[in-house]
Symmetry: C3
Subunit: 319 residues, 3 copies
């Protein structure tokens, strides 16, 4: 593995291997000796976080991942506003310059779809690895990987699981990516549930059709209890009001009322199931259920750092 | 000690112990061996600076404190504007996520009073320490601690000292906090001196009354020479023009003329006294007296880093 | 050497020594052992990057230079907007505070000409070194040094070289500084070529006259092929449209058409010549010639980090 630009190239075999490494990393965190072992892994490696778009959460997760592996990290948070980009520099030129500073890894967040792939092409010439931390309408592969890892580790596997995805499926990039990745596993069933205005887009549904994935798509609020009862995984998402135009306020009101998970909804869920959310949440999951063992969203965020550590380890080990 | 959220819980005993540790740290800086000793203290510890409000000075002081102790540091300066906060995330959720990244210490600067205490409640669940670096109208405890340390180290103790606080006592958080902390010591006398529009607020005066502290409150400019002559400590502050509405310009003019310390005012001060200022200063202390040994304001700023190092050492040592 | 504030004090002897150190550093990057050797040089040194003006490229170059030398680095990118500067603090006061935090080196970028020299005066009192990373209309000495180093290393020396400087010579600080430094070497010939509106300013021409440098100044587009043919170094620059008022758009159009280097222009250049550019470029050099061995602009940017490492090494070695 040289770069992490898309999540598609990860086969089930590659995912399994990545997840084993992630397990090993989590194990190291359990005692001071293990943490020290991690910190001694890459004292000579360094990572540049080049963020053309702000994303404090992703940045902090990657930077802490690097710190725990003993890497030196350098970050710039608003490369777009501040840098030579404003003078019209292409991503290719920026990469030529930055890669010459001999980083081991460049974590790139960009506002243009395809930027990470263009960056990786240049990085090839310099023995530098690119990690895509989100490129506009494009991908954010490490988010998708951590979502699958969460299911894998919390439920002991992905095959055969029933995954209910709810909330704003139209605008939520993470739900789209997860659905895509789940199609690689066997006998996974997906249940989409959203307001009629915010259903999953056709390209994903077609992809699932092509791969023979059992899925259904519901907007009927009265069916929610049954869906919750059946699910091994409930993956809930925030209404991305900022992406909707007219009528967003009214939609937000309906969303808050009918598409939220609280004590009552949790009550329908199986004992051995989990509730996930890519965070940040607003009000679509009530804090009153945070303590329930099924509420996995904070653990899910933490796994994000562990998965990123496993990826960095893979990228750095032969450098 | 698990967190530093308020300065009130520091008893005179705790302060004495903190000041001894600060002395030890300052001693280490005197030779390369000592600096190396410091840098080897916490190579496995790390610190996240989560600043929802800009404060370059506080941030740099904390981050350099961490660097000198060998800690890895990660900082984000405008968490408010950039982060998921903008999408409506609570400080509790942010702390749940961040603490799961296994930092040793989170230094928090927030715009809401009480945010640090709320953060500390979540951090409890993760073996993470919170340091309050200012929370809105609330506290900025490390500033108060460094002010008392300055008196302690420059004058060999705090008991029995006469402290003249001058300038904008209404808006200056540091003068308020210092008056509060001084009330813990014995036989301290406080003299307040300010324009009539900018006197110390009643809550602090009542607190001093309750604790039997000898204090006076003057707005009579002609009395200043006597006050300066009597004082062991002259603690001067900037007019916070940005917090006053109408009439601020005229008040600023008067302030600059009558409430400033220059060569003449310094002339009244005792030989064994010190002039302090929380900085930044504008014109209320003339640079022409910077070289005078009584001018302690830059040393005071430097002690800030040392006190913060002593606090970090205390928080990290048992982790 | 205590500070790097201006490029003028660098004699040819000092430059030669700096360039030898830079060569040594570049050599270390060729194998893992050498990189490790670099990283072990200054584990106890640290560097503060205090940027009052954004400059992602300069900042990343310096910070990576520090990281490769094993230094701890701390950076603040918008010190102007965020810091106490907004409350009216002078650069002198800021330096008094920052230097007391015991950095080894402060890299300063400021919007006021002369700020670096004022900062260095204060830093003297604290055994701290200042590196000027650009001060308003003033200097950016490390850029000038890396440009001369590029000529030195790519062509085996500077003496006797013919240097064609083209593009926007009026607004380009780097071309001005380079012309100035070149005057220190022997038998260098300089050819200026620009639109009539953007010619090199008189102060530099007078300086060259005083030092008996052979130079010419042309705005005749038809003469470009001859100039390209003769040159050992073609140093091209971007039209700084943002610094021109009315007519900038029309000028930009002409500039793009007549003052650009593409395959045709490159065809005139000697086989043993180099094409330099301070970057970022917009369209004045066509990406289609990036692969040509004469295109030295990316290497030039990389040398920037190496030269900065050599300077940091010089500043830190006796601390």
């Amino acid at each position: 593995m040289r770069h992490v630009v898309y999540s598609q190239p990860f086969t089930v075999g590659a995912l399994t291997s990545l997840f084993q490494n992630t397990d090993w990393i989590r194990q190291q965190f359990r005692d001071p000796e293990g943490k020290k072992r991690l910190r001694n892994l890459f004292p000579d490696k360094n990572m540049i976080l080049l963020f053309y778009e702000p994303s404090t959460r992703t940045r902090i997760s990657f930077q802490m991942a690097g710190i725990h592996l003993g890497m030196s990290t350098y970050a710039t948070e608003n490369a777009k506003e501040f840098s030579s980009a404003i003078k019209g520099e292409t991503i290719e030129d920026t990469m030529h310059v930055v890669c010459g500073y001999e980083p081991s890894v460049v974590v790139l967040r960009h506002y243009q779809e395809g930027a990470a792939e263009r960056a990786a092409k240049i990085a090839e010439q310099y023995n530098v690895s690119i990690v895509n931390a989100g490129d506009g309408g494009g991908q954010h592969p490490t988010q998708a990987l951590l979502d699958v890892y969460t299911i894998h580790t919390e439920l002991g596997g992905v095959n055969g699981k029933i995954v209910l995805m709810g909330g704003d499926l139209k605008n939520g990039r993470t739900a789209r990516s997860l659905a895509y990745l789940l199609s690689k596993f066997e006998r996974v069933k997906i249940r989409f549930f959203s307001p009629p205005e915010l259903t999953m887009k056709d390209d994903i549904l077609e992809h699932l059709d092509e791969h023979g994935v059992d899925y259904s798509d519901s907007t009927n609020h009265r069916g929610l209890p049954d869906l919750l009862q059946e699910a091994d995984v409930v993956y809930w998402t925030r209404f991305q009001k900022e992406r909707e135009g007219n009528g967003a306020d009214e939609l937000a009101r309906q969303f808050a009322e009918k598409y939220s998970i609280g004590r009552e909804e949790l009550g329908f869920m199986k004992e051995k199931s989990i509730l996930m959310h890519p965070l940040p949440r607003v009000k679509e999951i009530s804090p009153e259920i945070d303590e329930d063992p099924r509420s996995a969203y904070f653990r899910q965020a933490h796994y994000g750092m562990h998965v990123r550590m496993a990826l960095l380890q893979e990228l750095c080990k032969d450098k």
